[in-house]
Amino acid sequence: MRTPIAYFLLLSAILFALGSASVLMRRNALRIFMGVELQLNSVNLTLVAFSRMHLELDGQILAFFSMVVAAAEVVVGLAIIVAVFRRTGTTDVDRADVLRG
């Protein structure tokens, strides 16, 4: 493989930064959630790149588990967003302030 490993890691760093910027910029809970998914994926890319670099499969296994946990997280997260939408009529996270002191 001719492409240096660091390029994959840099790509993953850029994607992580874009994901976190997307989380910080948006107020719609679904958009924030998409940013979180992008962050999870960029970290998976790092895991697979390091797995290739060290010639071990454990990184790929960890990425696989991370995907499974992300699937469970998406299911519960979207259910929470739907429940909040039923209660408040919006997905704006600034409006979900019932617990504000």
């Binding site: 493989m1 001719r2 492409t3 240096p4 490993i5 660091a6 994959f8 890691l9 790509l11 760093a13 850029i14 994607l15 992580f16 930064a17 874009l18 994901g19 976190s20 910027a21 997307s22 910080l24 107020r27 719609n28 679904l30 958009r31 998409m34 940013g35 998914e37 992008l38 994926n41 998976n44 890319l45 697979v48 797995s51 290739r52 670099m53 010639l55 071990e56 499969l57 454990d58 790929q60 296994i61 990425a63 588990f65 995907m67 499974v68 992300a70 699937a71 469970a72 998406v74 299911v75 519960v76 979207l78 259910a79 929470i80 967003i81 739907v82 429940a83 939408f85 997905t91 704006d92």
Partner: protein, 205 residues
């Protein structure tokens, strides 16, 4: 130029472009579609990194299942109009961009110090993958990581039940216990006729 280099330099800019598109576009459905393309490009990166099993899983699980769920919820809630105008936290977008640039710079420094920009992955990944990548992964997964794998199944069941409980619309229904508690009550006090009552009683009520 070797083929995998070409593939990388085609899909890496596409990946960054779709991520930026996901971030800036106003419509939530468009953002989700950008994210689908981004997940496909990440799947191609897995292929370049000799992980064909994760390539398939990425497409099936992320680009398929998870994004369909996202699009379904976006359209179910009808929130594809984008954010309402006007920032409530002043300067939040500028701060987010600055922090994103800072984290890229920091991670690039860390990568340069830890890995080096020119380091190529060693050859011989085929020896670590006897019988192909999926078979080798299965070996490791079911030998070394069997207990976490089983815990994952519990996690998935709990998540499915939790989603059902959270999304359940509470309906006003009576339980068997309430029926038994009120079994001896005088139904006439509720303005109802007991079942099997004579015709004369029905006419009275």
């Amino acid at each position: 130029m070797p083929l995998d280099n070409v593939v990388f330099w085609v899909f890496a800019p596409l990946s960054i472009a779709t991520a930026i598109g996901m971030m800036v576009v106003r419509n939530a459905v468009h953002a989700a579609l950008f994210l689908v393309v981004n997940f496909f490009t990440i799947a191609v990166m897995y292929l370049l990194l000799d992980a064909p099993f994760l390539f398939a899983v990425q497409i099936v699980v992320y680009a398929g299942a998870i994004m369909v769920l996202f699009l379904f919820v976006i359209m179910l809630l009808g929130v594809d109009r984008g954010d309402p105008p006007g920032e409530r936290l002043f300067g939040q977008r500028a701060t987010a961009v600055i922090l994103a640039v800072a984290i890229v710079a920091e991670l690039a420094t860390a990568i340069r110090a830890g890995v080096g920009f020119a380091t190529r992955a060693p050859e011989g990944f085929e020896e670590a993958n006897p019988g192909g990548n999926p078979a080798a992964l299965a070996d490791v997964l079911f030998r070394d990581y069997f207990f976490p794998f089983e815990v994952t199944s519990i996690l998935l069941i709990v998540a499915a039940v939790a989603a059902m409980v959270l999304a359940l619309r509470r309906s006003k229904s009576i339980t068997q216990r309430e029926i038994e508690e009120h079994a001896g009550d005088d139904l006439e006090s509720y303005g109802m006729t007991p079942p099997g009552a004579p015709e004369s009683m029905r006419e009275r009520t």
